[in-house]
């Protein structure tokens, strides 16, 4: 089971976060200040660390820089109330692997934490040649996608979209996360522009099958159910 360390001075927020992660089957330990957080990181045993950027005493950036200097290479997700682009860049420069601004959707946080945990498991994001999710099979080398015995013909972007959904099969992914990971743009797609791409993909994926695989999760995003 994935073990997460949360360093967050806002106790309410930390508890909510811990609950949200537990719902998704992730065990989380909580510390409320930078110094304790750093000691916990040194002790080890965590797969991912979630650091709040603004904390009294040792803040998130200082904590992370110290940890990185000491050779602690745990994947780190930064939380910040600032939420501006330059803050994100600053956080990533300080050595964070991902960044999320408050307020965030718990599903998005879970998706990102799981992606970080997986990266730790498989090195740089999965080297396998074939992805499988239920009866869906994607060959990353020949680029052939098959559901059961039926070949599915995908455009390059649809292929990337499906690859990301398959890597996160069973989990909700938000529109912002899709735009970030599939299109590589960091902004909030305020419209249904992502929805249209999903419905195209869904039409190809679920056409002729009784059971739909690609679901819309209201208020959250999308989910590929194996």
């Amino acid at each position: 089971m994935t073990q997460v360390l949360i360093v967050e001075d806002d106790r309410d927020a930390a508890v909510t976060l811990q609950k949200g992660l537990r719902e998704a089957g992730i065990q989380a330990s909580v510390t409320h200040d930078g110094e304790t957080g750093l000691r916990a990181l040194r002790a080890g045993g965590f797969d991912v660390a979630i650091l709040d950027r603004m904390m009294p005493g040792l803040d998130g950036v200082a904590l992370l820089e110290t940890a990185r200097r000491e050779g602690i290479d745990i994947p780190v997700l930064f939380l910040s109330a600032l939420g501006e682009l330059e803050d994100r860049v600053y956080g990533l420069r300080a050595g964070a692997d991902d960044y999320l601004s408050k307020p965030y959707a718990i599903v998005e946080l879970v998706a990102r934490v799981e992606a970080l945990a997986r990266r730790k498991d498989t090195g740089a994001g999965g080297l396998e040649a074939v992805l499988r999710a239920g009866e869906l099979e994607m060959n990353l080398i020949t680029r052939v996608v098959r559901r059961g015995t039926q070949d599915i013909d995908l455009q390059p972007r649809e292929f990337q979209l499906l690859e990301f959904l398959m890597r996160n099969a069973g989990r909700s992914v938000t529109r912002t996360l899709l735009l970030e990971k599939v299109w590589a743009y960091h902004f909030d797609p305020q419209t249904n522009v992502i929805d249209v791409h999903i419905s195209r993909l869904r039409a190809k994926l679920d056409k002729g099958f009784d059971r739909p695989m690609l679901h819309t999760v209201r208020g959250e995003g999308y989910q590929l159910i194996p």
Binding site: E86, F187, V193, H197, R218
Partner: protein
């Protein structure tokens, strides 16, 4: 609010001695007086030295003359010569006396002088022989008298200078004070909250008028800005109140219904989440616009291929247009590079494309990238939608401005404001023009004239 310092707010209450024009006048008077004194002193010393030299020379010549006379012709001739008073110089005083100081002879001037005190004499006494002294001197009172009259004139002049100077100083002081007090009164009024206060111009064309005009101009702009802020504040309040009150109602209903039907709760909570997201988005966008405007430049700028960005955005939005039955065309010039923040520019283009698709019912949207004749980089989006009347084009990029016929569609009225803010932060602009014309597919669809929005960036 702290009570304003009375001395600062009311300069007319300050002693005139402390006011700048008066102090300047005083300084000028002192300087003029010093210079005049120096010039006068120079003349005095130069003149006095000359007078002394001349006097000494004449006294010497006379003494020599008498000494020669005594040597050649004896005492009696000398006595007679002095008594005769044959000096061409009326100011010469000549006396001859013995060892005991008894007078042997003197000229008329010497006789006149007896009994008169305080006579300025300059001369010498020589011993001619045993028991005989010659005293020759010159009465220099004439020169001193002239000098004294000069000094009196100088004092009078100085007094006049000071009196007239002070009067001029007071006049200047009053004029300047009046102008400055006018300015201060207006600034006081503005500080106390009256944004409408303006300085009355005197139309004299002087510096004070220029200053007053500048202050009025600044106040005009501040008033407009504060007006905009107030408007934006009202608009934010209005925009957030709608989803917040909706959210509240839903939660209230959910609480009420959760007692009877548990299934409804999920749905209501989901909608409440969506509403909350909308409120947060509005906040986030307003925040992003403010940050861009405050910073005046885009964060983390980099040089990249404009065509790649345009292609990405076209690919992202093409399906949206197609889904609505619109044609989606692209015309991208290649090899154009831009400098800026990729994500902000992407968001700006996304907003333009989204607007075009949202407000077009029939026809199509064309997305272009080209160099303008001025060498600028222009991303333009043209649509065949209902367009925007020319009178409204200026204000649709202001925050929270939504035109009447767009209110039924989703949106907070921040899309174009963000584009404008992004454009400005990159040193560019948002251009809004007439579209390609009325689109006629059949007799029923002629929504036209369309709209052309363009993000124009400076060349790299």
């Amino acid at each position: 609010m702290p009570k304003p310092d009375a001395a600062l707010s009311r300069p007319h209450g300050r002693s005139f001695l402390r006011q700048t024009p008066f102090r300047l006048t005083g300084l000028f008077i002192v300087v003029y007086a010093l210079v005049a004194g120096m010039i006068f002193g120079y003349f005095y010393f130069a003149n006095a030295a000359e007078t002394r030299a001349l006097t000494d020379m004449r006294v010497g010549m006379r003494t020599d003359h008498f000494t020669r006379l005594y040597r050649t012709q004896g005492t009696e001739a000398l006595v007679q010569a002095i008594a005769r008073d044959d000096s061409p110089d009326g100011f010469m005083v000549e006396r001859l006396h013995d060892d005991q100081g008894r007078l042997r002879a003197q000229n008329r001037r010497a006789a006149d002088m007896q009994g008169r005190a305080a006579v300025a004499l300059r001369g010498q006494q020589v011993r001619l022989g045993t028991d005989l002294w010659l005293y020759v001197a010159m009465d220099t009172s004439w020169a001193d008298r002239g000098w004294h009259m000069g000094v009196k004139a100088i004092w009078g002049g100085a007094a006049l200078l000071i009196v007239l100077g002070l009067m001029a100083g007071l006049l200047i002081n009053r004029e300047v004070s009046r102008a400055v007090n006018g300015l201060l009164k207006v600034l006081d009024a503005v500080r106390d909250g009256d944004m409408k206060a303006r300085v009355a111009l005197r139309h004299s064309g002087d510096e004070f008028d220029a200053l007053a005009e500048r202050i009025n101009d600044t106040l005009d702009r501040m008033e407009a800005n504060i007006g905009n802020l107030k408007y934006a504040g009202d608009a934010i309040a209005h925009d957030l109140r709608t989803p917040l009150s909706r959210l509240r109602t839903r939660l209230e209903v959910a609480l009420y219904e959760s007692r009877t039907d548990k299934a409804l709760v999920d749905e209501v909570l989901e909608r409440a989440l969506t509403d909350t997201d909308q409120v947060l988005r509005t906040f986030q966008t307003v925040f992003a616009i403010s940050r861009l405007e405050a910073q005046g430049q885009a964060p983390e700028p980099q040089i990249f291929d404009a065509q790649a960005l345009a292609c990405d955005m076209a690919e992202l939005f093409e399906l949206l247009a197609q889904d609505k039955g619109l044609e989606f065309g692209t015309e991208f010039a290649s090899g154009i590079r831009v400098c800026g923040n990729r994500d902000f520019l992407a968001q700006a283009l996304a907003n333009l494309l989204d607007n075009a698709i949202k407000y077009t019912e029939a026809g199509g949207v064309t997305f272009r990238l080209r160099h303008t004749s001025a060498g600028e980089v222009e991303f333009s989006v043209t649509d065949t939608g209902q367009g925007v009347p020319e009178a409204d084009r200026g204000r649709i990029s202001q925050r929270f401005v939504r035109l009447e016929n767009s209110r039924s569609l989703p949106g907070a009225g921040l899309g174009l404001s963000l584009v404008a803010a992004v454009a400005r932060a990159h040193g560019g602009r948002l251009a809004i023009d007439e579209g390609p014309g009325i689109y006629k597919k059949d007799i029923y669809t002629h929504r036209g004239p369309g709209l052309r929005t363009a993000l124009v960036l400076p060349p790299v």
